[in-house]
Symmetry: C2
Subunit: 300 residues, 2 copies
């Protein structure tokens, strides 16, 4: 986990620090509290603490329903627990939602009022800016874009349901496509007896491995299909793609755009639609949390 | 087409009239202008004219990109043409979007801030209220919910693209399912040599016709799949279903809800989600246009 303190304007941090999320001697929450103390600015008043957390969570209360990768954060009242310790306003948001907000305020989405952000890595997450506001939904669970169904009875998703985008286009889905193809007897420079990642599949594709190329084309096809649906739903002016898998370039983007263009009903949707990579990289969460805090303080 | 004049509060019309949209001696636009004159209130000042039109259209300008069922309304500047004739503010919205707005202000969606409206008849249209505002998108083309892809390479949609919801769950899609099944030799009380509608299929299902039951189950499955995606995207507190096909009751709703529940990742999405039929029926467009005008006048 990482933390930073920022002045009231600009995005140059005052202090900034990063630690591993887990430790054998502290809980994740204890580590978070200590990390906040580490970056606490000595000569400045602190206006608020803002946290970009794994979810699903309720941003109105800061209650974490279930963060599968963080031990103990199931039905965890993160907001209340931070409020017990720190005497400042506490704001909490879903990490992918806040990454969207970071790109909107400080990244590649500046001046767009209707923006879709999709992050493709181990999972697929999203964030949506609609009519100049972050879309949160009734309980703050909106924009779980990895869980759009793209195949009626497709592969099992990490959430246990069938045919979701995350089950077909995330990093692990790309690896699974290659492994299943190898099991069925197809040949490749990648081998079943070795571990490999989606990044390794991309490297293999770039040396001409046709199975690796097909694995990215398969993921791209379903991404393009989901993007076309999102275009019909939101009519955005920009789509921003982040996460490790999105860094594989034309290998993913060409099949994705081909399916997307083939699925959109009316050219007006595409007329001035920008499709761009994310700009903030590893700082997306920090800067998204910063954007959230500034917006909340401005509205209060 | 229908038109009504309303007082500044309440939904009891002052005047109200309905005519057929087409005529051999007048254009559709001429008929619209005459209809407005017919319902023009004599003893009241007119604050605005508000139109719910077939689309896609741009609600900011009132420009109709293409209304396939209205002769001559392709690239048709409806807003500008009305402004030339009537010296009052002119507001124009997509009919399904405005039906959503009508249900939100005067129908079954009152007091909900995150609402999805889906109308299922000859086509499938939609409207979305997000964070207490109608979602319009960058060019006003948002909420074309009939064009969510639900089958990667499915049947051809009315828009020409593949596997959209409208191609699988609209009235014509239900009829096509029965006709294709009859062609492949399945038996039913419905016959290929007779015309029949989705309503006739519903009647047949209610007398125990198994092919007719399956036709609705097939449509319901894809509706449920699309609703689950929309729930992950918006986290709404209410879903309102309108249009003739939605009036077929459990025949459609049971398979729809079964697939929807089976596809949602996390029970919090469903906790206090209402799924209800539309209330305004044939008046949805009129009352939606009324809601639009009142909101625009209030904000101006």
């Amino acid at each position: 986990m990482r933390a930073a303190s920022y002045p009231s304007t600009g995005i140059q941090p005052i202090n900034r620090h990063k630690i591993s999320t887990e430790s054998p001697i502290e809980t994740v929450f204890e580590r978070l509290v200590n990390l906040i103390h580490v970056i606490w600015p000595v000569n400045h008043e602190v206006a608020a603490i803002s946290v970009a957390s794994a979810g699903p969570l309720n941003p109105k209360t800061g209650f974490i329903y279930d963060a599968p990768n963080i031990p103990g954060w199931k039905d965890f009242p993160l907001g209340d627990k931070l409020r017990e310790i720190f005497p400042v306003p506490i704001f909490i948001g879903n990490d992918a939602n806040l990454a969207a907000m970071g790109e909107w305020k400080y990244g590649n989405g500046i001046d767009h009022s209707d923006l879709i952000f999709l992050t493709i890595s181990t999972g697929i997450g999203g964030g949506i800016i609609c009519n100049n506001a972050l879309m949160e939904g009734h309980n703050g669970l909106a924009a779980e874009l990895g869980h759009i169904t793209v195949q009626p009875d497709g592969l099992v998703c990490s959430c246990g349901k069938l045919g979701h985008l995350e089950a077909l286009a995330s990093g692990p889905a790309i690896v699974a496509y290659v492994r299943l193809s190898l099991l069925s007897g197809q040949t490749s420079t990648l081998h079943l007896d070795k571990e490999f990642s989606a990044y390794d599949v991309a490297l293999a594709a770039k040396t001409g491995d046709q199975l690796a190329v097909r694995a990215y084309a398969h993921a791209g096809f379903y991404l393009g299909q989901a993007l076309a649906s999102l275009i019909h739903i939101f009519n955005p002016s920009i789509i921003i793609l982040g996460g490790g898998v999105a860094q594989s370039g034309a290998l993913l983007f060409e099949p994705m755009l081909e399916k997307m263009y083939a699925s959109v009903m009316e050219p007006s949707y595409l007329q001035d639609l920008e499709i761009v990579p994310a700009r903030l990289g590893d700082d997306a969460g920090l800067l998204g949390a910063l954007a959230l805090a500034r917006q909340k303080l401005q509205n209060s």
